[in-house]
Amino acid sequence: MNSKAFHQETIKKILAVDNEISDEVNVRTATAPFQAEFPYERDSEAQVTRREFCNFLFLTSSALFLGAAGFAGKSAYDARSPKIFTPAKIDGAMSIEPGSALNFVYPSEEDTAILIRGIDGTYAAFGQKCTHLSCPVYYSQATDRLECPCHNGGFSPKTGEVLYGPPPRPLDKIELETINGEIFAVKREVRDNEG
């Protein structure tokens, strides 16, 4: 036997041994007649080959990367798109009682906001999304504060500044104007920590 034939014989033996000890041979082979229509057994249903699992992990990695990139891209795009502010009447603003609040949207349907009428009768309006994780804030009449129920953040109902909790910056400020006895929202401003 020459050297080349000897090596081929050795490789065949190794492959034969591998096939004997491998636990992943023919896991997808259907043997029973019913498996032609329903080709899974309870025992083999849970079996996944290493190659399949490796493919799954790589696809998961791709999906996570695309998810992060897509989410970041959409957020950045939305943030950079210019907002056009046109005065919008806040329906029902004049009828709310002192010490209560009214929800509205400005400037678009996605931009929720809250109008607060203080005990002294003055009006103030802020974005309703908490600056921590965008949970909606509500006006607590008992404590006279804007509170975020998700992580216990608190804001001043007069200035929108952070009073306590995890929010990193004040609420968006909405400028109001009174025109012909009606209250209009005219501008929405994103503020940083300096207010």
């Binding site: 492959l15 000890i21 290493r50 990695s61 996570l64 990367f65 992060a68 989410f71 965008s134």
Partner: protein, 83 residues
Amino acid sequence: MKDNAKPQRPQSRGLSAVWQARLAMLVMINVAQLWILSAAVEAALAQTYSQLAPLVIASGICWLIALSIFLWWRPAGEGGRRY
């Protein structure tokens, strides 16, 4: 000479170790990418957009490592064999 030509143990044991290592690394990369995705969601909800680019780059690096593991980090001598 003949003893040296034969493997002392089944070759698949070494190949299995490499496969396990590949899978373990891919799992760790997936966990890291899951954390990065959650951090990106949190940064976007908090409107701290400056954090988004580094997070996406980190996720992309993780994906490139996963790609290299998937395509090229194969056991030596595996050739076209299927496991």
